[in-house]
Symmetry: C2
Subunit: 399 residues, 2 copies
């Protein structure tokens, strides 16, 4: 008997028919002799519907009240799924954040989980009940409703699996696993049967939209095996754990891509960069491919990229923060994409960057920036070249 946490995303519970199908799947897992805890998202479209109501009232609605509003989406899902399981003669109970004490900090809209009680969950499991937890939501120290931000239901699932020391945390979504590259870009992208947390972390942060970065980090911290699978056509999916993947005689696991904006500026204030990075970190904006060079004594040039979603906020900081007066000759460039070659084997294969550049040269493409870490090599290219770049790299490293 294993303890399995199953998470179902918005499309997996996107209609009453889908909820009935999920009920069957959960029951089947229990009938195989397992204890099951389920974590559920809002029905697809519901969160946007609610957000739209809020925006019609106020374009910048109260963050506390927005969380009160949005969490109703998951509450609807857990109640309906519990009904569907109970109708089939099995025991189930829906549980909200306060009922399992999912305690978070008080950052409305992007709270972090601080503590989860396992007592209630163990009680339910001992009574052979399927526990269905509303994802995405928490309660802060004063009992206010909070939400966990993008990918929040994954976070709930992984945190719950972690504190329960679950044998596996299964993330059911609308894709059937993690691929060597985006199948919409690379026709013969292959599903990876297994992958290491570190690789998944890079793939997640680089644009493989399967899993949110924070939940992969949490799973690796708890040593919880994560499995990504489809609720539409159940199969083995992709297992994410500390085991190196099967493709590991190959140093490269996948090719990821992410829309990026490139910034470049000059300053003579040496302290400015750390102030900028701190300001962006507070806004949870990830700065990537950071480069510094010294034009002449006391004058520094900087360049970095951010996800294109963050562009307007970054621009605001660069133009209006207290330290902005020390920024000179600032330019930015949109329409770019960061392509990354990811694999645990990269650290022991220093030729990967050279091979990457060779592959690009074959296509007559020369990257604007590049950077490497122990497990990835990234290059910044024009979005127009995305298709050619990713396919060439896929042919090169994952033939």
């Amino acid at each position: 008997m294993a303890l399995i946490v199953q998470k179902f995303g918005g499309t997996s519970v996107g209609s009453l028919e889908r909820i009935e199908a999920v009920a069957e799947l959960v029951i089947k897992t229990q009938q195989q002799g397992h204890q099951v805890v389920v974590v559920v998202s809002a029905m697809s479209g519901e969160t946007n519907r609610l957000l739209n109501l809020a925006k019609q009232i106020d374009s910048t609605p109260s963050a506390r009240e927005l969380d009160v509003l949005l969490t109703t989406g998951e509450q609807v899902s857990v109640a309906l799924l519990a009904m569907a399981i109970i109708k089939r003669g099995h025991s189930a109970v829906s549980l909200l954040a306060d009922q399992v004490s999912i305690k978070t900090d008080n950052m409305s809209g992007r709270a972090r989980v601080e503590h989860i009680d396992t007592e209630r969950l163990h009680q339910e499991l001992e009574h052979n009940r399927i526990a269905i937890i509303a994802g995405f939501q928490g309660r802060d120290g004063e009992g206010n409703i909070t939400t966990l931000g993008r990918g929040g239901t994954d976070t709930t699932a992984v945190e719950v699996a972690g504190v329960l020391q679950a044998d596996e945390c299964q993330i059911y979504t609308d894709v059937d696993g993690v691929y060597t590259s985006d199948p919409r870009i690379v026709a013969n992208a292959r599903r990876l049967p297994e992958i290491h947390y570190a690789e998944m972390l890079e793939l997640a942060s680089l644009g493989a939209k399967v899993l949110h970065q924070r939940s992969v980090e949490a799973a690796s911290r708890y040593h919880t095996p994560l499995r990504v699978l489809s609720s539409f056509k159940p199969d083995k999916g992709t297992l994410i754990s500390y085991k190196e993947g099967c493709v590991s005689n190959n140093p490269v696991t996948g090719i990821a891509n992410q829309e990026a904006v490139y910034y470049q500026f000059t300053t003579s204030n040496v302290k400015m960069l750390s102030q900028l990075l701190m300001a962006l970190a507070k806004l949870q904006i990830e700065v990537d491919m950071l480069h510094q060079w010294c034009r002449q004594v006391g004058i520094f040039d900087y360049a970095f990229t951010v996800h294109s979603n963050d562009h307007l906020v970054v621009l605001e900081v660069l133009q209006s923060a207290p330290f902005a007066q020390d920024i000179n000759e600032m330019t930015f460039e949109q329409g770019l994409v960061k392509v990354s070659v990811v694999g645990l084997g990269i650290k022991s294969h220093p030729q990967i960057l050279a091979q990457t550049l060779d592959a690009l040269a074959y296509e007559d493409i020369y990257p604007k920036l590049m950077s490497t870490t122990e497990i990835k090599a990234s290059i910044l290219v024009a979005e127009l070249d995305l298709q050619r770049v990713v396919n060439r790299l896929h042919v090169t490293f994952l033939p």
Copy 2:
């Protein structure tokens, strides 16, 4: 400075425009120097939409999970109203059942309020914040979500007003007060400026759909003045308190009507009736106009009425309960209506019943059953005669 509890029903918050209007109304009350606690229903149509989702999953959905589902409706309303008030630069905070500790028994779908904490509410009011409570919902002793049944948001408002010892509990609805009779039936029905709890209780239970009986009972228990008014065209509405109404030189306050079903049966088991009444009480079905007569030694005839909404459930009990084998010659009759002449003055005017019968005879109508209490005289007539009966009684008693 007064402490005022304002309750807004589903039609009052039925659209975003209506929510904005309610925000203005609440702010205006605060600006008049009052402390304001608001209690809100789900947007009109929302509860039915949710109920419909549940019924599609299971025609008899889990009662616990149904409550989890339905309470999202009020949660959406409180968040949106809070946003609308905050946008206007005023402080507001939405509060759910657990956040103000609205403790109930564990009867899912029809729970009774057992306790409400005032500490949090006083805190919010001291900080000059408008407290917006989700109506209709509670938490049982184990932290499960419960709902208070029909008229539940009124109940929340009255209970909150009671424990806060509010100066007034204002029930905003889609009618602008309590009338001497249903204006759709009696063209010159008049709004009553004031009315006594006891009269309102009879009018509520007899079909004046303005207020639910349970909330009138609770208000009278707490001695909280209740005011019924329209959120569409603000006016003084009708004040319900221990004061006798202005029309009180007239013994009759109003003429109410309610669709009814009439049952009649014979039994020789003397204990059967109490078993029947107990069974119906458990189902919260109110038995009215109960009559007994003894046909011969050891054989009893019984007759009673119930609200026509309860007909199918009552029939089921009469045909299938354990004591049903002792019921003989059972007949029932639908298409009836109970018309009641209500007024505190009735107890000191014993001629009211005679005048009622005279008025009916004038129309050549003879009631099937009649009954009187200290403050009402009721007759059972065919629904076809409703218009004529109510108008004749209105002319007679409220000329």
